[in-house]
């Protein structure tokens, strides 16, 4: 008996690539459903936003001309001469912000549900690296339209990197491609934004996703302890995937709404010779660090305040990266859970400093 054509094709492929175990794996893959399930979507949404960034980024590449003389004009050209150019540019700008936002949410939900614990230490580490890379994406992409705000924000941002002891000057020089922020910086940031960071990001994203697939979804303690008959599981395929798509569509709708109704502006072309305008601000996800540095007094214990601040953030970042390896295990008798407290303080600090940054 002749098999249907689709099955013959599958058989042909299976013979060569041994797909059956993969299919079995996907069929068996299940996702636990409980009151914390909502946090499972955050990673998927971040991934979806990354794909949108990739797609709109490639489209923008078709018209963008890096270079001090052409960058601003080419974005203006994209925004008012290329059909729907304004839309893709607006989506790319808004998408970048939502991307970083969802990674933050994803990270904190992971932290509070203790999903970083054994065996998921490396999933956490790769995830944190992805967050840093996403912020680097934002920082480098912000300069590309070559407008006044971005120009001075880049100046301030690279200056901050420059205060690091020993390596600071070298980092600043490499980032700027010279002593100052110039057209050379623009060329570099362009290279970082479209080649270097995407390449590294893809590697870490691959690892991150691979780890998730190998280990399955993490169950919070409150759920994991339940007897099997009280646990609810649904198949990943198609049930959870459809739910994922459902979440993506909502995010896409929000993204489109923002892009269409609050289109991203272009600003004034950067003039390296003009004095810095007032109100220079970094992107919101750098605001808490920027604002903290402003609050540190110029000299603390004989060390320059800014140096101290940058060092403190570096140490804090490193500690956060290594959370799975030094976690303070709480005892059942503890009324205050130490890790929850740390996470809460970190989150509160970020939120308060960000708000203060925008109010001051």
């Amino acid at each position: 008996m002749e098999l249907p054509r689709s099955q013959r094709l599958f058989a042909w492929l299976d013979e060569r690539f041994n797909l059956s175990p993969l299919i079995d794996f996907m069929k068996k893959k299940e996702v636990p459903i409980h009151r914390h399930t909502i946090w499972y979507y955050m990673g998927g949404v971040s991934l979806f936003l990354f794909l949108i960034q990739l797609f709109t980024g490639i489209l923008l590449l078709l018209y963008y001309q890096p270079g001090e003389a052409s960058a601003y004009d080419s974005i203006r050209f994209i925004m008012n001469k290329v059909p729907f150019g304004w839309l893709f540019r607006s989506i790319h700008s808004w998408g970048a912000n939502l991307f970083v936002l969802f990674i933050f949410v994803h990270m904190f939900s992971t932290f509070f549900t203790r999903a970083y614990r054994k065996p998921r230490e490396l999933t956490w580490v790769t995830g944190f690296v992805l967050l840093v890379l996403a912020m680097a994406f934002g920082f480098s992409g912000y300069l590309l339209p070559w407008n006044e705000l971005a120009f001075f924000a880049t100046k301030v941002g690279t200056d901050i990197a420059g205060v690091l002891p020993v390596v600071g000057d070298a980092i600043k020089l490499v980032l700027r491609g010279g002593e100052d922020v110039t057209g050379a910086t623009l060329t570099r940031f362009y290279a970082f934004h479209i080649a270097l960071i995407p390449a590294i990001f893809t590697v870490f994203l691959g690892l991150h996703l691979l780890f998730v697939q190998r280990q399955g979804m993490h169950e919070p303690e409150s759920v994991a302890g339940l007897p099997p008959e009280r646990k609810k599981m649904i198949p990943f395929f198609p049930n959870f995937l459809l739910r994922d798509i459902f979440a993506w569509l909502i995010v896409l709708n929000v993204l489109l709404f923002l892009s269409v109704f609050f289109p991203w502006e272009l600003g004034v072309e950067a003039d390296p010779l003009a004095p810095a305008p007032s109100g220079i601000r970094p992107e919101w996800y750098f605001m808490f660090m920027f604002q903290t540095l402003k609050f540190i007094p110029p000299h603390v214990l004989g060390i320059e305040g800014e140096v101290l601040g940058v060092l403190a953030f570096s140490v804090a970042g490193l500690a956060w990266l290594l959370v799975p390896f030094w976690e303070i295990r709480e005892k059942d008798s503890d009324r205050l859970k130490p890790m929850a407290l740390i996470g809460f303080l970190a989150l509160a600090f970020i939120i308060v400093m960000t708000i203060v940054g925008y109010l001051v």
């Binding site: 489209l59 001309q65 003389a69 203006r76 729907f84």
Partner: protein, 144 residues
């Protein structure tokens, strides 16, 4: 009942996907189609066949954001200058009878090399290049 509901739902999903794809593809395809002026910075502008310009005539063409005065000299040669007077940014014109470039605002006068020869203009006009390519005049920026 359940069957018809399922059918309806499937149609809705199928239609939604098609509509969504169309609303993605339409902007993408439009985006890929290059606009009339395919570049942000105009680097060269075709202004028409040589035959359209009589000797001793002139025309102002919009070179991106800069108006450019294109003059065909009596000798048949073409010259191009930024049509912006260097005094107060009025638009200059070629005077066929007097064979000079003139700004009506304050009577500033430039020669046919674009040099300021009398009146208030402090500097010569910015030069552009007019080249004949296959019978057509192309205006471009003077390379620095």
């Amino acid at each position: 009942m359940a069957e018809s509901r399922r059918k309806f739902l499937n149609i809705l999903i199928g239609g939604g996907i098609v509509g969504w794809l169309a609303s993605v593809l339409y902007p993408v395809v439009s985006f890929l189609k290059p606009p009339a002026l395919p570049e942000a910075n105009v680097s060269a502008l075709k202004v028409g066949p040589v035959a359209d310009f009589a000797a001793g005539s002139s025309r102002i063409v919009k070179f991106g954001r800069t108006p450019v005065l294109l003059v065909r000299l009596d000798s048949g040669d073409f010259r191009a200058f930024a049509a912006t007077c260097t005094h107060l940014d009025c638009t200059v014109q070629y005077r066929t009878d007097k064979k000079d470039i003139w700004c009506a605002c304050h009577n500033g006068i430039y020669d046919l090399m674009g040099r300021n020869v009398s009146g208030p203009p402090p500097r010569p006009l910015e030069q552009f290049v007019a080249t004949e390519i296959e019978g057509e005049i192309v205006v471009s920026r003077l390379e620095a």
